[in-house]
Symmetry: C2
Subunit: 196 residues, 2 copies
């Protein structure tokens, strides 16, 4: 069995959302699994000096247009939440609180769908708790406050940075890094060919 | 005759170079021409707060890898000049000094080839003069110093900014903006379909 594709993303990233709708199927076509790794992009921006796309002069309006246009091309619903950019701390912690990888992936998809298909504000703890409960999972209120939950998210963010991850989405395929949902065609080609 | 595709680029942009090897053929497949518009990305960065990719922590090494990897995928020669990033003032002025559009485009391709296929330093005036002379054109030394040459480049940069151009390469197709050589597949689809 070949190694998993590492998929790094921030829950507040529209391009991460777009990638999340495609990466599992893409990997499956090549007999690969995907390890999902949410992290806090804000921690990376402190190191790189970047800012959220829509907060940047001139670039902001372009990216709002490009989010929606790219989603239409993929046939994926898209709504930019009224509050954007946002800080997805609770959702990220909930992901790492879940010890079952499949449950965590279902949560990630549900959070992304709420944020960018429905345009909901997923920053309140109460919203994240509701999303987790809809998956039939109890106990998340307490789980979010556990020191080990908080530590897992910090460690995941540090591990992403240590691997050179600086944006969302970011993929590592057999050691090869790819940044951006617009590199998925290259990711697929890399899987097909083993590199070029 | 449909309107031309506007192609904005900075001569110091590796992704602009990659796009320059493809944009004319792409346009031709759809019965379009391309209007080439070099501009000074540094002037835009002053407004957006961006820095050259390779000067950014963590992002720099990724982009150096991605330049070369993207070039290999396209089958295009690529060498990053030892002096990078650089300020392509003389080459940009030479482009606007040439009143013949076909000559200017040949110059642009020759400058990009020198910089990123051969890895030459194209910042010295003497190098630009040599490249222009190889195209059989005389008088560029004096032309670069003309106030109207300098004014044309300033105006072109201001015009790019006024149209929302914030990176290189940048394309505008029938009013629709696309940033990045990795959007060329979308540009082509836009030409095929008239939008989505």
């Amino acid at each position: 069995m070949s190694s998993a594709i590492d998929f790094y993303f921030d829950f507040s990233s529209p391009y991460g959302y777009l990638a999340s709708t495609r990466i599992d199927e893409l990997a499956e076509r090549h007999g690969r699994s995907v390890a999902w790794h949410p992290f806090l992009l804000g921690a990376v921006f402190k190191l790189t000096g970047q800012r959220a796309l829509t907060e940047q002069p001139i670039r902001g309006p372009y990216h709002e247009r490009d989010f929606a246009r790219s989603a239409r091309l993929l046939g994926v619903p898209f709504t930019l939440p009224a509050k954007f950019p946002f800080f997805a701390l609770a959702a990220s912690r909930a992901f790492y609180w879940l010890s079952d990888g499949d449950q965590a992936k279902r949560l990630a998809k549900a959070v992304y769908r709420a944020a960018f298909a429905e345009g909901r504000d997923v920053t309140p703890v109460s919203t994240v708790v509701e999303i987790v409960k809809c998956l039939g999972i109890e106990g998340v209120e307490q789980g979010l406050e556990l020191p080990e939950t908080k530590a897992k998210l910090r460690e995941a963010t540090d591990a992403a940075i240590a691997r050179g991850v600086f944006g969302s989405p970011f993929f590592i395929v057999d050691g090869e890094p790819f940044w951006g949902h617009d590199r998925l065609a290259q990711v697929e080609r890399w899987l097909e060919t083993g590199g070029w």
